[in-house]
């Protein structure tokens, strides 16, 4: 076993060596511009791109013409929201989204609000899930788009996407989902889920960074987004810019591997995740964040009360994870996702997110269980809050100094 151990696969994944291998010829040998129509270099690149489009479309049940290549999920989210807002301005200006979305959605919505959009931010239950009725109630005659994330990056909870999709279809409202964490990990089918637009990216599924896609439905209904970059009119006029052929080839290969291996891999990962989670939840005063049943197979988010997340991460320096603690961000605010669950700030500060991946082994999980449990104990031994808790003092009864 090599240290450090990588358990932050929700942040990014290593590129699968099989993906790298597929990409290599496209750096030096087949380096052509896919838009060059008049010579074999261009044809070869175009051929590779169309093959990748098929591989990607096959993973999500789409037609290859519905794949618009971008630089990644942030761009896809921006293109979906801003592009729909501009394209459908005559129909209305009301968007519905959720408070636990990724910043790429929330900040794009903030941007659109400044331009005159009206955005409803729905809150989630204490398990992180949305109820489809909340969306039905929020809909208005001028609602143009509903945007709900598929699987949450911090908690791993999976929203009721199919029900939301069906509702949107019935009401004639466009439905976008940020499926960055879900595609490649669980079966995602844009037809069955009634998805009109979907953002996803290669680097969360063992492909390279810097390439992603926006699925844009072509039939029932035919969806269009206004381009956000002016240029050569690539990607059916929705996203200009020379295609990242090498990245796209890798993205295609990554999708193919996920399609073939996902079912077995999800079983393996959820077994490892459950082993980790069950062991860590035996630690006194530890709590699981988010719904346990409707979850991505590789993610768990646990709060260890009376221990601060960044301090804890320093104590497990051989394991790479993320924390909802304020100290890990520049803002000094704890995770807004955890706060949206109604969690006390204190518990949000005490959380760790574990993201398992294709290369995670059982040996690594066993090491992690031991290492995290020991570090929690060590830090509690030096935590005044733990001492107070053990003495039966209610921490809420104390007048804490402002700070």
């Amino acid at each position: 076993m090599n240290l450090p151990i990588y358990l932050d696969n929700n942040a990014t994944t290593p590129t699968d060596p099989r993906v790298v291998e597929a990409m290599i010829p496209y750096f030096t040998e087949f380096f052509g511009n896919a838009a060059s129509r008049n010579h074999p270099f261009g044809w070869k690149a175009e051929e590779a791109v169309s093959y990748a489009r098929e591989q990607i479309a096959a993973l999500i049940g789409a037609n290859e013409k519905e794949i618009i290549f971008t630089s990644g999920a942030t761009e896809s989210n921006n293109l979906a929201l801003k592009g729909v807002y501009e394209m459908y301005a005559a129909k209305g200006n009301h968007f519905i989204t959720v408070s636990t979305e990724h910043k790429a959605i929330l900040d794009a919505c903030k941007h659109l609000e400044k331009q005159g959009a009206e955005v409803t931010y729905l809150s989630v239950g204490e398990d992180g899930l949305l109820n489809v009725e909340q969306i039905a109630e929020a809909m208005k005659p001028d609602t143009v788009l509903v945007s709900v994330m598929y699987g949450n990056n911090e908690l791993g909870v999976i929203q009721p996407i199919r029900e939301i999709g069906a509702l949107c279809k019935e009401r004639g409202v466009l439905f976008h989902t940020d499926a960055t964490q879900a595609v490649g990990k669980i079966p995602v089918d844009v037809m069955a889920d009634h998805i009109d637009l979907m953002s996803f990216t290669a680097h969360k599924m063992y492909g390279p960074k810097g390439v992603g896609a926006l699925y844009v439905r072509r039939k029932n209904p035919r969806v269009k987004v206004t381009a956000q970059l002016d240029g050569g009119g690539h990607e059916r006029g929705m996203r200009s810019g020379t295609l990242n052929v090498t990245g796209i080839v890798g993205f295609g290969k990554a999708c193919e591997l996920c399609r073939l291996e996902m079912a077995d891999e999800a079983k393996r990962l959820s077994a490892l995740r459950d082993k980790l989670e069950n062991a860590l939840l035996t630690v006194e005063e530890s709590y699981l964040n988010g719904n346990k049943a409707n979850r991505l197979p590789h993610t768990t988010n646990i709060s260890f009360k009376y221990v601060e997340g960044e301090g804890l991460m320093m104590g497990i320096k051989d394991i790479a994870v993320s924390s909802g603690s304020a100290c890990t961000s520049a803002s000094l605010e704890p995770s807004y996702v955890l706060k949206s669950l109604g969690l006390d700030d204190e518990l949000a500060h005490s959380s760790l997110r574990f993201g398992l991946g294709r290369f995670t082994t059982e040996e690594e999980i066993d090491f992690t269980i031991k290492c995290v449990s020991d570090a929690v104990q060590r830090l509690r031994d030096m935590s005044p809050l733990w001492e107070m808790f053990k003495e039966g003092i209610d921490l809420k009864s104390i007048q804490w100094s402002e700070h």
């Binding site: 009376y306 221990v307 601060e308 997340g309 960044e310 301090g311 320093m314 104590g315 603690s325 304020a326 100290c327 520049a330 000094l332 704890p334 006390d344 700030d345 204190e346 500060h349 031994d381 030096m382 935590s383 005044p384 809050l385 733990w386 001492e387 921490l395 104390i398 804490w400 100094s401 402002e402 700070h403």
Partner: protein, 137 residues
Amino acid sequence: MAYSDKVIDHYTNPRNIGTLDKSKNTVGTGLVGAPECGDVMRLQIEVNPETGVIEDAKFKTFGCGSAIASSSLATEWLKGKTVDQALEIDNMEIVEELALPPVKIHCSVLAEDAIRQAINDYRVKNGMEPMELESHH
């Protein structure tokens, strides 16, 4: 963000973790910060009433590595100082000693506040005038 070697050293081998008997008149306790802010420090001193020298100091901290290191360092510096000398400890000295980056300066401020609160608690317990504790926050 990478931690300085000194922060890592104090985090890995914290000096003077523990609890002093706060019911004793010779013990002063400072409890600063708040759980919802992600740091709470408790710093205690035991003073020799004859000499005014701090003979023992203990801490417990809930917080990041820099908060733990700041309070550990503070207990080290307090021991052997008189109460008056201890009041001269400035948070910027902690920042310098531990090479804290700007986002962690609040950890040193918290440690300084904890020292002052502990000294004040000791003074009040022993019938001395309470100090003016201006909050830095």
